[in-house]
């Protein structure tokens, strides 16, 4: 059996490559932003441990559902109460 040599080298080739890992299956509740209430203040972003919150090209704050673990901090800390935690369908 031939082995691919690069698989035998204990080296990480890309910086910050954990972003390739999806951790969405850690989540039992998903944060949902109510667009009408959100002022794009980024408070949720600075307190997210992942971070799984970003600003899209239009300047709107969005959740990155591949990397959100559903901790609920963003919903707790949003000064506008614009984030609701909704149970995932399992």
């Amino acid at each position: 059996m031939s082995r691919r040599p690069e698989l035998l080298i204990p080296i990480v080739f890309e910086a910050g490559n954990t972003s390739l890992r999806k951790v969405a299956n850690w989540r039992s509740n998903r944060p949902v932003i109510e667009r009408r209430l959100c002022t794009n203040c980024l408070i949720c972003w600075i307190y997210c441990p992942e971070p799984a919150i970003y600003m899209d090209n239009a300047g709107n704050v969005q959740i990155d559902y591949d990397h959100c673990k559903g901790c609920g901090i963003c919903a707790e800390e949003c000064p506008r109460k614009a984030i609701k935690m909704v149970m995932e369908n399992v």
Partner: protein, 304 residues
């Protein structure tokens, strides 16, 4: 440059998502904020602990910045070596100096790493040492450390710890460090500006950050920032800085919230709050009060 708004920090991420920290990990929030604020070029050195384990699930790394992981006890020694080597390379025109930022847990800082830290601070290396304090050895399953507060249950203090938390800030001030400060992730602007300030000062500087841990403090993951805020507003974790030996309280809490508000949210203090442990609770409160009064005196000795 001073940080005044979140857009000053946005887009400067040093850690990638997809790491394996527990949901709501306060240490990760603290470290993210440190890296968002830090001015490149810098090299991070970490001893073993949660941060190391959660950021490097092989074959992945969450680090977008140069990072060296070393043993549990010697992060400050390795940081000293890197700093000294870069200094020589720069003198020879072969490279340039980077700020060295050590980021370690309370176990790696208050306990096993202390002699390496003492050596680095005594020799005066140009580095910033950041301790994210989750008040126990979390990575190995919640054992007590010198940073665990009175009454807190850990797996090695099943009825609550009896001893006071070690005063790490005083230890580093007494080493003659030009800048030692405390910070909390709920006060992101204060934290970010302290990182900038510490980085701009030549010599060994220290930042002590409170890092609530839902796993080891036993509370709901959504409450991490609330708990950090309560730690500050009950005076359990005062926010202050010591610049060239001069103390300044950055958040003067004139009317503290009752300590119980902080304790009640965390099951690690469930024993402490039982009626039969009233004496231990009193000792916790005495510790908070004595430290605050001492800080007031030190700050008053150095009027602005």
């Amino acid at each position: 440059m001073q940080v005044s708004k979140l857009l000053d920090l946005y887009g400067r991420e040093g850690l990638s998502p997809g790491h394996s920290a527990c949901q709501g990990c306060g240490a990760t929030i603290a470290v993210r904020q440190v890296l968002l604020a830090a001015e490149p070029p810098y090299i991070v050195v970490s001893p073993t602990g949660c941060l190391e384990v959660i950021s490097t699930p092989y074959p992945y790394t969450a680090w977008r910045v140069p990072w060296v992981h070393v043993a549990f006890e010697n992060a400050a020694a390795v940081a000293s070596g890197i700093e000294a080597a870069l200094r020589v390379l720069e003198r020879k025109g072969l490279g340039r100096r980077h700020k060295i930022i050590v980021i370690g847990g309370d176990g790696g800082t208050f306990d096993i790493g202390l002699q390496a830290i003492s050596g680095a601070f005594e020799r005066g290396h140009d580095l910033l040492y950041v301790c994210y304090d989750n008040e126990a050895y979390m990575n190995t399953g919640i054992q007590r450390s010198a940073a665990t507060p009175i009454g807190s249950v850990t797996t090695t203090t099943p009825a609550g710890k009896r001893e006071r938390k070690k005063d790490i800030v005083s230890i580093l001030v007494s080493h003659g460090s030009p800048y030692v400060a405390t910070a909390s992730p709920h006060l992101w602007k204060d934290l970010a500006n302290k990182v900038r300030k510490a980085q701009s000062i030549e010599g060994p500087t220290f930042l002590h950050i409170v890092a609530p841990c839902p796993r080891g403090w036993y509370y709901d993951s959504s409450l991490t920032i609330k708990i950090a805020k309560l730690a500050v507003e009950t005076r359990v974790f005062p926010i202050y800085e010591v610049e060239n030996g001069k103390y300044r309280i950055n958040y003067l809490i004139s009317r503290p919230r009752p300590v119980e508000e902080y304790l009640r949210l965390q099951s690690r203090f469930a024993y402490l709050l039982r009626p039969e442990n009233a004496a231990l609770l009193e000792e916790f409160k005495r510790w908070v009060e004595e430290r605050w009064n001492q800080l007031l005196k030190l700050a008053a000795a150095f009027p602005p």
